[in-house]
């Protein structure tokens, strides 16, 4: 059974499990991204009193294009250019022992982080373990004044004392559901996918 959920302007497709006659068809709907990202950009400007000391750091894979989109929204509010970086957390993960090798990708930070307000950007906030790893990685590059967290979707089920400062959308989920964010830059289209049941293999990145 496939059903479409519409929540406050966000279109989320809920894809059926076993026995679904349409399981081969793609049953999600494009999500109007710009709204929540624009709001988050305003919140970043307000909280940091401008963007002078702000650095955006996307978590690979899908946090990176999201950080770049956020950067474009910030530019429309404050012309001051905000540095954008990318961080790969593979070498800092706590679950390396549990799974097969992940390819490691480049970490590139545009400037020293000492004294900056670093906004980590990721697509989905779930257990909080990726964010823990990202914070460990960031502190190896310097001592930011603050580390803040912006996510497109907070799906709950935290396993660590971590919360987001900026949330595009809270989406209540069950643990056995999968939340997938697809981005044009990586996946060829923008969509949020809510899949019930078994984990679906994915080529790169993780929630």
């Amino acid at each position: 059974m496939t059903s479409l959920r519409v929540q406050g302007g966000f279109f989320l497709a809920r894809k059926g499990t076993k026995g679904c006659s349409r399981s081969k068809g793609r049953s999600w709907t494009p999500w109007p991204w710009s709204g929540p990202l624009r709001r988050i950009a305003h919140e970043i400007v307000e909280r940091n009193r401008g963007t002078q000391q702000v650095v955006l750091v996307g978590i690979r894979t899908r946090g990176v294009p999201l950080a770049q989109r956020l950067h474009r929204h910030l530019q429309q509010i404050e012309p001051h250019p905000v540095p954008v970086g990318a961080i790969d957390i593979t070498l800092y993960r706590d679950d390396l022992r549990l799974q097969k090798n992940r390819p490691v990708h480049a970490t590139s930070l545009p400037c020293p982080l000492d004294g900056k307000h670093v906004v980590l950007v990721d697509d989905v906030l779930y257990t909080g373990r990726s964010i823990r790893a990202a914070m460990d990685a960031l502190t190896d590059f310097g001592r930011p004044q603050t580390i803040q967290l912006a996510v497109l979707i907070d799906r709950g089920h935290r396993e660590l004392p971590i919360r987001a400062d900026y949330v595009g959308k809270n989406v209540p989920t069950a643990r056995n559901e999968q939340v997938r964010v697809l981005l044009r830059e990586v996946d060829g289209e923008d969509a949020v996918l809510l899949v019930a049941g078994e984990p679906v293999p994915r080529t790169q990145g993780d929630a």
Partner: protein, 309 residues
Amino acid sequence: MTAIDFRGRDLLGMAELSAAEIRYLLDAVPPFKEVSQRDIKKVPTLRGKTIVNLFFEPSTRTRTSFEIAGKRMSADVINVSVATSSLSKGESLRDMADNLAAMQVDLLVVRHQVAGVPHMLARYLSIPVINAGDGAHEHPTQALLDLFTIEERLGSLRDKTVLLVGDIANSRVARSNIFAMRKLGMRVRVCGPRTMLPPGLERLGVEVSSDFDEAIQDADVVMMLRIQRERHGEVLFPSPQEYAERYCLTAERLRRAKAEVLVLHPGPINRGLEIAPEVADGLASAILQQVTNGVAVRMALLYLILGGS
């Protein structure tokens, strides 16, 4: 085709690897090079893993490189050198390996003057073994760092011509490189005195020459090999002066090569014997870049073998 996975595997030689596996290893390296460029050159990935460097031959570069690589990945690295080991009390290699394994070591890096020792230990032990040079047989991590350096400087490997010069017969660096370069579609030419060229090189798809001035002309890479005086049981050339006369890479010889030629040497270098100081320190030389890349290559390898379960 199954996915390439190095977890728990040995790395004994380039002869055993497929072109796709070599490609996979090379592609894994760049992020680890970036770690070495940070202020804090350490990631927590291999916390709790123990690596033993077991070196039966003198080595500064390779042993230090493995040690630094392990430590940058947060593994504990222990160096055992033969002079201070219990082998000098008459213990057999096998008993020594048993004892190391009984201490829950996670990986063994072995260098030995006899070809095949790392292979023997790898068969015998359940933990992964990396060959850091066995006799005149193989030195796979050196070949990987050479290939990585060539690709970094020249942009690609395929169809590039590499000239290896010197004591080919006694060189494990040459053997590992020849195996790997042929698999990756590079042209390999070797040059040296006839006494230093083993028979059967053509079967490996290698061009053989004894005229350095001619062989260098269209080479993209010139890899000079060290004259290993300690390995020569017999005299392979009349005198160092005569060898240098014909096979030393001088600035004058280098001018015969392509303008953008790359000069490599696995080290340690004998200045004035196989390479002139002004060439070793010149713009075409990537000798120190090789050393830098060696650490990154070994970090990547340790990650791929010891990372994951």
